[in-house]
């Protein structure tokens, strides 16, 4: 059982041919509406809120790049799962 102060991290590789584009960012922010935990994405030292489409886009995460999903707070485990899944196969039907 996790405590609220625990920070969860997972490294994911972007698995979509356009990278972290507007559609994925939109899906991610919508996903985050179901969660109350705090989730950020980190790339090359830049950390952005998973609730901000603009922040996510500004990461300029191209296909194949590596990101860290970082979360803390209630339900982080599940949020990290869902966010990682979106990043890894982009939430659309383009299975690679």
């Amino acid at each position: 059982m996790m405590t609220e102060s625990e920070i969860l991290e997972r490294t994911v590789v972007i698995g979509n041919e356009l990278g972290l584009h507007a559609r994925v960012a939109t899906a991610m922010v919508q996903t985050m509406k179901n969660h109350s935990c705090h989730v950020t994405l980190v790339k090359n030292g830049m950390e952005v809120d998973a609730r901000s489409v603009l922040g996510l886009l500004l990461l300029a995460a191209t296909p194949g790049s590596e990101l860290i999903v970082r979360a803390h707070g209630p339900g982080s485990q599940e949020a990290v799962e869902q966010i990682s899944r979106l990043l890894e196969n982009n939430g659309s039907d383009h299975v690679r």
């Binding site: 356009l18 990278g19 584009h21 507007a22 559609r23 960012a25 939109t26 899906a27 922010v29 919508q30 809120d49 609730r51 901000s52 489409v53 603009l54 922040g55 886009l57 500004l58 300029a60 191209t62």
Partner: protein, 610 residues
């Protein structure tokens, strides 16, 4: 090198305009002939450039936050309305997510909280705080390497501008329809939606910073008979509202601070031109039969607005060869209903009866974006989801338009024209939808034009290559030269750096046209041409020689084209065409055709160039 859309040069903002010496001459591209002399009205596109800045008193901060919140809520409401229309109209295809993105952006931390911070901590008024945040965000986007991501700065502007307009209390459209009389409209660029709002009687001329001869603003200015010069680069910054300028759409010159003598010279030329055009009108009433009587070409008009029919009929059109329907969809936030479309189509059909009216189904996408569709920006829109591709994708939208057209067809002589066909499957899919719509109308007991002719716009080189296959499927072909040339020569016609390569008379273009005509003749399918090429007097003899059955053009060109056809013999046209096909370059062909016209019709040649 091919340039992408995002490479457009930027204009450096300078505050106010400086005083220029008398008779300062600017050189642009003359895109619509005629001369305009009058007072400038500068209309800038982005409201971000006109936003007022004010430091708030501490007491005002609460109200200002509430004002901002209201604007955001209203913007959310409107975006949701648009979204609900779309959901109702088609199975949410691939593109509605962009609306969700825009809705989320309204509350995005960077944009929303950034603005609130500006109000609370910076004591900025909401407009100021928001535009500052918008420009900060777009600077951040500009430094991103990835071109796709960089383009998203546009979404920030789309959303931010919506809120700004609500804050400023300005409508979501530019107020072009409210221009004072005798204005010379100066804008950075003119979108088709802006152009559609222009009233002929209040605008004397148009001058823009960007655009080329075949941009949509150019085509619109020509059809509205308004002299226009584009590609002036910085005219928006060089003149201010109230300045007197001369716009010469024939030579592409704009004269700032004209002195009395310059004004006098231009007024004289204006009179000369007016008299010439008056004298040509008589030819409009006559049929376009070659001098020897062996060939008759039907001459029709291209229009975009129902209001243009009067001008078209006055110039002697024998029907409408191209009714562009996009303008019903542009410059608004929702989609036009079936009834609204039906009324527009019926009006055009009834006013032309029994002459034919060719209605082109929605040709949107590319450089024409309907805000109601909220299409995501594409990196290569000319080759993206547009025209028939978009319609087959948004079937609900397409069916609504087809219902309106088929119902209106009952009231006149209607021909249905489908744009951008590139393969036979698209024809089959389109016909299946038409059959479906007819069956529905039939079972509802609604009257419709059962025998509406079906044709395709031949504008993709692939369609030319398989014209023999496509001919078996259609009642008529219409060659859309503007796009055909753009695709065949790989020239972006809106890019002022390469549009000099856009050659109507390129030997490749002439061969493509010949191939379409041959296929049409082999299968008994009539071949029309509706691009800009059809209305240029220099091209008339070769088009007659090639065997085109119908030419559809800007109404103003009709009298002169009829005069020329009536003055030449079919044999001469065949001989001229044969010679042109021996030539190797566009320049050579152009010089040859121009010389031919010049020697036979020196007066018309000079005056038509004015």
């Amino acid at each position: 090198m091919v340039q992408t859309m995002s490479d457009k040069q930027t204009v450096t903002p300078e505050n106010g305009s400086q005083e220029f010496p008398q008779n300062t001459i600017l050189k642009g591209v003359g895109v619509s002939v005629g001369i305009g002399i009058g007072q400038v009205v500068v209309m800038d596109r982005l409201v971000t450039e006109i936003c007022p800045c004010r430091i708030l008193t501490p007491e005002e901060i609460g109200d200002e936050l509430a004002r901002f919140e209201n604007a955001v809520q209203e913007a959310e409401k409107r975006l949701n309305t648009i979204k609900s229309h779309i959901v109702a109209d088609h199975p949410l295809g691939d593109h509605s997510y962009i609306l969700d993105t825009h809705i989320l952006l309204l509350r995005d931390k960077m944009l929303y909280e950034g603005t609130r911070r500006g109000i609370e901590q910076g004591r900025q008024n909401a407009e100021w705080a928001l535009s500052e945040v918008m420009s900060r965000i777009s600077t951040a986007f500009e430094s991103v390497d990835d071109e796709y991501i960089r383009e998203r700065a546009k979404d920030v502007y789309f959303v931010g501008e919506r809120v700004l307009r609500l804050l400023l209390g300005v409508s979501t459209e530019k107020k072009i329809h409210q221009l004072p009389g005798n204005s010379i409209l100066v804008v950075h660029d003119l979108s088709p939606a802006d152009a559609a709002q222009i009233k002929r009687e209040s605008v004397l001329a148009i001058a823009t910073d960007i655009g080329g001869r075949t941009s949509h603003s150019a085509i619109m200015s020509r059809s509205l008979k308004i002299p226009a010069v584009t590609g002036l680069e910085k005219i928006c910054r060089m003149v201010k509202t109230g300045d007197t300028i001369i716009v010469d759409g024939s030579t592409g010159l704009v004269i700032l601070n004209p002195d009395a003598e310059m004004m006098f010279r231009y007024r004289q030329r204006q009179d000369l031109l007016r008299n010439y055009h008056q004298s040509l009108l008589a030819y409009g009433r006559l049929p376009a039969v070659t001098r020897d009587g062996s060939r008759t070409i039907k001459i029709l008009a291209n229009i975009e607005l129902v209001d243009e029919i009067d001008i078209a009929l006055a110039h002697g059109c024998e029907g409408i060869g191209l009714f562009r329907t996009e303008y019903l969809f542009l410059g608004r936030e929702d989609l036009p209903s079936e009834e609204e479309q039906f009324e527009a189509y019926r009006a055009v059909l009834a006013l032309n009866k029994p002459s034919p009216v060719t209605i082109r189904t929605l040709d949107i996408g590319g450089d024409k974006i309907a805000s109601s569709l909220n299409l995501p920006p594409e990196t290569n829109p000319a080759m993206g989801l547009r025209a028939i591709r978009l319609c087959l994708n948004l079937k609900g939208l397409f069916k609504t338009q087809l219902r309106a057209i088929l119902r209106a067809a009952h009231y006149g002589n209607c021909r249905l024209l489908v744009p951008m066909i590139s393969c036979i499957t698209e024809i089959h899919s389109t016909k299946a939808i038409i059959a479906e719509v007819k069956a529905e109308l039939g079972s509802e007991g609604v009257q419709f034009g059962e025998d509406t002719k079906f044709g395709i716009l031949v504008e993709v080189p692939a369609a030319v290559a398989i014209a023999d296959l496509l001919a078996r499927e259609v009642d008529f072909f219409s060659i859309g030269t503007n796009d055909l040339i753009q695709y065949a020569l790989a020239i972006d016609r809106l890019n002022e750096h390469v549009n000099y390569l856009y050659d109507t008379l390129h030997p490749a273009v002439l061969r493509l046209i010949r191939q379409v005509v041959n296929a049409g003749q082999a299968y008994g399918v009539s071949v029309a041409m509706c691009g800009e090429m059809a209305g240029d007097p220099v091209n008339v003899p070769i088009l007659v020689g090639l065997g085109i059955d119908e030419l559809s053009m800007n109404a103003l060109s009709i009298p002169l084209v009829k005069k020329l056809i009536r003055s030449i013999s079919y044999d001469d046209c065949l001989e001229l065409t044969h010679q042109a096909f021996q030539m190797q370059s566009a320049q050579e062909i152009h010089d040859f055709l121009e010389k031919w016209i010049f020697e036979k019709f020196p007066g018309d040649y000079f005056l038509s160039q004015q």
